[in-house]
C-alpha cells in the first residue's frame, strides 16, 4: 500500500523577476495535520513562495500539489474552494465592514445565494444568511471576538485585526491554512497569544504552513525550512536548523 501524499507539496518551484532569480528548485512538503514553517531573512523569497502556493503568482517552473492533485494552474478562488486559505503580512480585514460581516464573508464558498435570489429575498436566501450569521457568531465566540461583533474591523488594533483575519480564514474549515508573517506589527504579548492560537488550531487537526522571519514564532512548528537567496538551505526541527552551519552563517554571519 502506498503512503498517503502530503497535504501540500511544492516540487521544484523556481521563479524570477526579470533577470533576478528569487526561487530556485524549492521543494517543501506539509503533511496532513502538520505545522510547517518557512523562515528566512528579508528578501529570501518567502513571500514569493507563499504567493505561488496561494495562486497570486504562477511559478516559472515546478508544481504545487494539494493532497496529490496538481493545483499549479488553479486560480486563487479555485485553490480557496479546494481548501487552501491564506492570510496576509499586513492583515487585510474588510475595514468598513463589521467584525460579524467579516466572518460572514469567510463563509462565502459554503453558501450559494445568487444575485437574483438575494434581490427578491427568497426564503432560502434568508435562511442561508441567518445560518451564516449564526455560524459567524459561534466562530466569534470561539476566537474571543463576541464583544466586537458590531465594530467596524478598520477600527481594531493590529492584534485584533490579526485574530479577525485568522477567524475569517478558519470559519470555512480549510484543509491548509497559510499564514504569511502573522507576527508582523504585533508586540511580544500579542505574538504569544497568536502562537497559542496557531498551536490550538493545529491540535484541532488543521494543517498549517507558516512563513515568518521571527525565530520565536517558529517554536510552534514541527518542521522548519530555511530559505536563503531563493534556496532551501536546511530543513528539520527548529533545534536542528538552528544548529546548521549554513543557517548560522545566513542569519548571524558566523
Amino acid at each position: 500500500m502506498s503512503a498517503a501524499p502530503p497535504r501540500l507539496a511544492l516540487q521544484g518551484i523556481a521563479h524570477s523577476f526579470g533577470g533576478l532569480h528569487v526561487l530556485r528548485n524549492v521543494g517543501i512538503e506539509v503533511p496532513a495535520g502538520g505545522l510547517v514553517g518557512l523562515i528566512g531573512p528579508n528578501g529570501s523569497g518567502k513571500t514569493t513562495c507563499f504567493n505561488i502556493v496561494s495562486g497570486f503568482l504562477r511559478p516559472r517552473a515546478g508544481r504545487v500539489l494539494l493532497d496529490g492533485s496538481e493545483i499549479s494552474a488553479c486560480s486563487v478562488q479555485q485553490r480557496s474552494r479546494a481548501g487552501l486559505v491564506r492570510t496576509f503580512q499586513a492583515p487585510k480585514v474588510f475595514e468598513r465592514m463589521t467584525v460579524l460581516e467579516n466572518l460572514m464573508v469567510g463563509e462565502h464558498k459554503s453558501t450559494r445565494t445568487g444575485v437574483i435570489e438575494a434581490m427578491f429575498g427568497t426564503r432560502r436566501a434568508r435562511a442561508e444568511l441567518a445560518a451564516c450569521r449564526e455560524r459567524a457568531e459561534r466562530c466569534a465566540e470561539r476566537f474571543g471576538l463576541q464583544a466586537l461583533l458590531a465594530t467596524p474591523a478598520g477600527l481594531l488594533p493590529a492584534g485584533q485585526r490579526r485574530v479577525v483575519e485568522l477567524a475569517r480564514a478558519c470559519i470555512g474549515e480549510p484543509r491548509v491554512l497559510l499564514l504569511d508573517e502573522p507576527s508582523s506589527g504585533l508586540n511580544s504579548e500579542e505574538i504569544e497569544v497568536l502562537r497559542r492560537w496557531i498551536a490550538e488550531l493545529n491540535r484541532g487537526g488543521l494543517t498549517v504552513f507558516l512563513v515568518s522571519h521571527d525565530m520565536g514564532l517558529m517554536t510552534v512548528c514541527d518542521t522548519v525550512h530555511v530559505l536563503y537567496f531563493g534556496e532551501v538551505i536546511a530543513a528539520g526541527s527548529l533545534e536542528h536548523v538552528q544548529a546548521d552551519a549554513r543557517v548560522r552563517e545566513a542569519y548571524l554571519g558566523v
Binding site: 480585514v93 460572514m104 464573508v105 444575485v115 434581490m119 444568511l129
Partner: protein, 320 residues
C-alpha cells in the same frame, strides 16, 4: 440598529409616506414634473449608486443604457405598435446583453481606467444615438410616445404618474436593499474593501462586477423607458455625457454607501438646479459651487450628515 435610529426611521418613513400621498394635492404641476423626474433619475442613479457604493466602481456611462431603454420604448410603441411593456422589456434585455458584453472586458480594469472606459461607453452611445437617425430620429427625436396605462388607468397626468413612478423607485430600492444586505452585498463590500482578501475567500470578483454592471444597466434602461413614456418625446439631447454625470451625482451627493439616500440625491439633483434657475445665467455656476461645497463639507454625503446628526442626538440623550 440602535432603538433611537429605529424609531426615528419609522417616524420618518410614515411622514414621508404621508407627504408622498398628499404631494399631488398640494403642489403645482411643474413641481410634480420635477419630483417625477427626480424619481426617474433615482431609478437610474440607483444602479450607479450600487456600483459606486458597494463595488467602488465609478460609472460615467449610464446615459448609454438610459438611452437604450428610452429608444426601445419609443421605437417599439410608435413604429412597431407594440405594447409599452414589450418596449420596456426589450430595452432592459438589450441593455443587459450590452452591459454583459461591454462589462466583461472592461471590468478587468480598475480605478480611473475603468471610469474612463465607462465614459467612453457613454460617449460612443451618444454618437450612435445621433448617427442612427433611422432608429432614433437623431436631433428631431421621436414624438408621440404613448402614455403608460395601468389596468386601464392612463398615467397621463403628472399627478397620476407621481403615484406610479415613486412606487417603481420604491420597489427598485427594496430590491437593492435586499441585494446589499444579502450574500452578494457582503461579497461586493469585501471586494471593495480588500480585493486580494476577497479573492482568497473564493469570491469571483469579475463575475460579481459584471452582474452588478448588468443590474445597473437594466435600472438605467428602466429609467429611460419611464422617461420616454412620461414626456412622450425623446431626442439625443437627453442622452449625453451630461446626463451620465447627473446619474453619478445622485450617489455622490447622497453618500454612495446608502441605498435609501438615492432618493435624497435624486431630489437634490433634480430640484436644486431648478430652484437656482431664478438666478438666470449664473445658476449653473452657483449649482457647481453648491456641489463643490456639499462634497467638500460632507464627504459621506447628505446621508452621512444625517447619520452624524442622529448619532450626536443619541449621544446627547445617553449622557443626560
Amino acid at each position: 440598529m440602535p432603538p433611537l435610529h429605529r424609531s426615528f426611521g419609522l417616524v420618518a418613513m410614515l411622514v414621508l409616506l404621508a407627504l408622498w400621498a398628499l404631494l399631488p394635492l398640494a403642489l403645482p404641476r411643474h413641481f410634480l414634473d420635477m419630483t417625477n423626474f427626480a424619481a426617474i433619475l433615482g431609478v437610474g442613479g440607483l444602479g450607479v449608486a450600487l456600483l459606486l457604493g458597494q463595488c467602488g466602481i465609478v460609472n460615467i456611462g449610464q446615459a448609454a443604457f438610459y438611452g437604450c431603454g428610452a429608444y426601445a420604448s419609443a421605437y417599439c410603441t410608435t413604429t412597431l405598435g407594440w405594447p409599452a411593456a414589450a418596449g420596456i422589456g426589450l430595452g432592459a434585455l438589450i441593455s443587459a446583453v450590452l452591459a454583459a458584453a461591454i462589462g466583461y472586458p472592461i471590468l478587468r480594469l480598475g480605478g480611473f481606467f475603468l471610469a474612463l472606459a465607462t465614459l467612453a461607453v457613454g460617449s460612443i452611445a451618444g454618437v450612435l444615438f445621433f448617427e442612427w437617425d433611422w432608429l432614433t430620429g437623431g436631433t428631431l427625436g421621436i414624438g408621440g410616445i404613448p402614455k403608460l396605462s395601468l389596468l386601464g388607468w392612463s398615467l397621463n397626468t403628472p399627478e397620476r404618474y407621481h403615484y406610479f413612478v415613486w412606487v417603481v423607485l420604491a420597489l427598485a430600492l427594496w430590491l437593492a436593499h435586499n441585494l446589499v444586505n444579502g450574500r452578494p452585498g457582503l461579497a461586493m463590500r469585501a471586494m471593495r474593501d480588500a480585493a486580494p482578501a476577497a479573492e482568497v475567500m473564493a469570491i469571483d470578483m469579475h463575475r460579481l462586477k459584471t452582474a452588478m454592471f448588468v443590474i445597473c444597466a437594466v435600472l438605467g434602461s428602466l429609467a429611460g423607458s419611464l422617461f420616454a413614456h412620461y414626456v412622450s418625446f425623446v431626442s439625443v439631447q437627453s442622452f449625453t455625457v451630461e446626463r451620465s454625470m447627473l446619474f453619478l451625482l445622485v450617489p455622490v451627493i447622497a453618500g454612495a454607501h446608502s441605498v435609501g439616500g438615492v432618493v435624497l440625491g435624486a431630489l437634490f439633483v433634480a430640484l436644486v438646479p431648478e430652484w437656482l434657475s431664478a438666478l438666470g445665467d449664473f445658476h449653473q455656476v452657483v449649482f457647481g459651487l453648491v456641489l463643490v461645497l456639499v462634497v467638500t463639507l460632507f464627504p459621506a454625503g447628505l446621508m452621512g450628515l444625517a447619520g452624524g446628526l442622529l448619532e450626536r442626538v443619541g449621544r446627547g440623550r445617553s449622557t443626560r
